[in-house]
Amino acid sequence: MTERADPSPLVYAKPPPKPVARFHLSDGWFGFLITVPALLIMLTVFVFPLVFSAYTSLHRFEITRPDRTRFIWFENYATILQDDAFQRALGNTLTYVLVAVPIEFAIGLILALALATITRGRGMFRTLLVIPQMLAPAVMALMWKFMYNDELGIINHLLREWGVNRPPLWLTDTPLALFSIIIVEIWATVPIFVLLLLAGLLSIPSEYYEAAAIDGGSAWAVFRHVTLPLLQPVILVALLIRGMDAFRVFDLVYVLTGGGPALRTDVLSYYIFRTAFTDRDFGLASAGAWIVSIILLTGGLILIRFMRRRA
């Protein structure tokens, strides 16, 4: 092979004439070919199963009796949407997202502003805050389950010392249990908001603040008219991404309550999991999974459109 035989359009505005008798792969094809290994894995192990589950969701399906599978149109979707347990799981999931994410954002913003203000040790605090959210959700759930424990947990121990006679049973009192999981979610996710918002805050050029100072704006006015508008894209992306992550919650619920007490902390992912592997109803579970997926894909497309418009 001659050294010059492989000219690239990247280099020459007008490619020199190609050697005639030699196979030449255009840059476009070369580019596509080297994505093929990754593409194959994603298509076979991720996309194809999803498509397959769309097919499953239109069938009555029994995993032990494949011969009894039959096509039933959208009956599974109709069944699941009327199912009380599904509706409760949907309600719980929405509560979970709508309570957790705004609180995470508010605490995250306050902390990010505090971190942006301090002059010493910012790097150290940031490093320390990185740790909690990298842990496996299963372990987060485990250590909080231990702290929530009535006899052995530190939370109720402290509450008793401070004079609360009957501290709450965090994970077994019905209205409370869902919010106890939300507390863990908030604990796990605030650091993410802090990191994102801090990165956004630190990227605001100081000239803006200097100009605002010359104009004599109050601290609140500067925050309201300088910081917030400039931070807005980061805020929207963070809210959307974290909202969708919270919508998929599974691990925390699985370890903390297993959906209990009496399925009062059931969420969509956990409902689908139970339907597939406890009730063994793959058709119904697939229908549920598709409803969740469609909601999340819609959110994702909104996010992408928003990011495109900004770019």
Binding site: S8, V45, P49, V139, L196
Partner: protein, 273 residues
């Protein structure tokens, strides 16, 4: 802009209090794991620190096996997703072809879907090709969830690589593979490290796919093992704490190595940090 001393003091107070609150559960887990067994039932600081719990948990539970399973699956899937994913990212950042936009869109949307939505059909499909309850099956499944992350992290790093260098390489007579190997790889080595750590942690922390695709005791991973211990032996918090500490120490080390790049990984390149 000058900050008033009151605001500064308040900021420090908030930061220190928050850091304490956010790290306390982890510290408490460590303390519990070093408690002597006789003090497990008291909610207090231990009178002495001991490794007894670690010894007991390693003797009574196959925690060592869980750990090895998790390491093998995480390393295996990371190797595959890093090689294939960074090649794909290199292509997506440098070349323009018709499938480019659809592939980028697909990887972005893949990250959003819940594990159970993929896990359930995958369980069924894997059963028909005898991949359920096998290590390769689990590795493959984890590779699929790591790929979008690797691709988007690496895209960021490749876009920071000056194209002049690549062009110079082509002019000097490297072919396109040689350019990757000799010029691009040395430049993006830090990026590869970041991608590797993120995808390692994604597999290391994954509960749902491991739970669905490999329920056999032989293949139990750390997160599955620990949550099962919790279901079966709900009272032995001391043992669970020591197993959990063994599980999270690698995470903490990797998180500290990674902290400069963490914003990029969290948002799939949506917000550059």
């Amino acid at each position: 802009m000058k900050t008033r001393p009151g605001v500064m003091a308040l900021s420090y107070l908030i930061v220190v209090a928050a850091t304490f609150l956010f790290l306390f559960p982890i510290v408490w887990l460590f303390i519990t794991s070093f408690k002597p067994p006789s003090e497990v039932l008291s909610v207090a600081l231990p009178s002495r620190l001991t490794l007894e719990n670690y010894q007991t948990v390693l003797e009574t539970f196959p925690v060592g096996q869980y750990f090895i399973n998790s390491v093998l699956i995480a390393v295996g899937s990371t190797l595959i997703s890093l090689t294939t994913g960074s090649l794909a990212a290199y292509s997506l950042s440098l070349y323009r072809f018709r499938a480019r936009q659809p592939i980028m869109l697909m990887t972005l949307l893949m990250r959003l879907l819940p594990g159970v939505a993929v896990g359930i059909p995958l369980f069924y499909l894997f059963s028909s090709v005898r991949l359920t309850n096998t290590m390769p099956g689990l590795i493959l499944a984890h590779t699929a969830i790591q790929l979008p992350l690797v691709i988007w992290i690496m895209l960021g790093f490749f876009e920071d690589t000056p194209t002049e260098l690549i062009q110079a390489g082509l002019v000097d007579g490297c072919n396109r593979f040689n350019v990757i190997y000799r010029i691009v790889l040395p430049i993006v080595t830090p990026g590869l490290a970041v991608g590797a750590i993120f995808s390692y942690l994604l597999s290391w922390n994954n509960l749902d796919l491991a739970l669905i695709l490999a329920p056999t005791p032989r293949l139990v991973t750390m997160p599955v093992g620990i949550s099962n211990m919790n279901l079966i032996y709900g009272v032995r918090w001391d043992l669970m704490a020591s197993a959990a500490v063994m599980y999270i120490i690698p995470t903490i080390i990797l998180a500290l190595l990674l902290q400069r790049y963490i914003v990029r990984g969290l948002t799939l390149g949506a917000v550059k940090g």
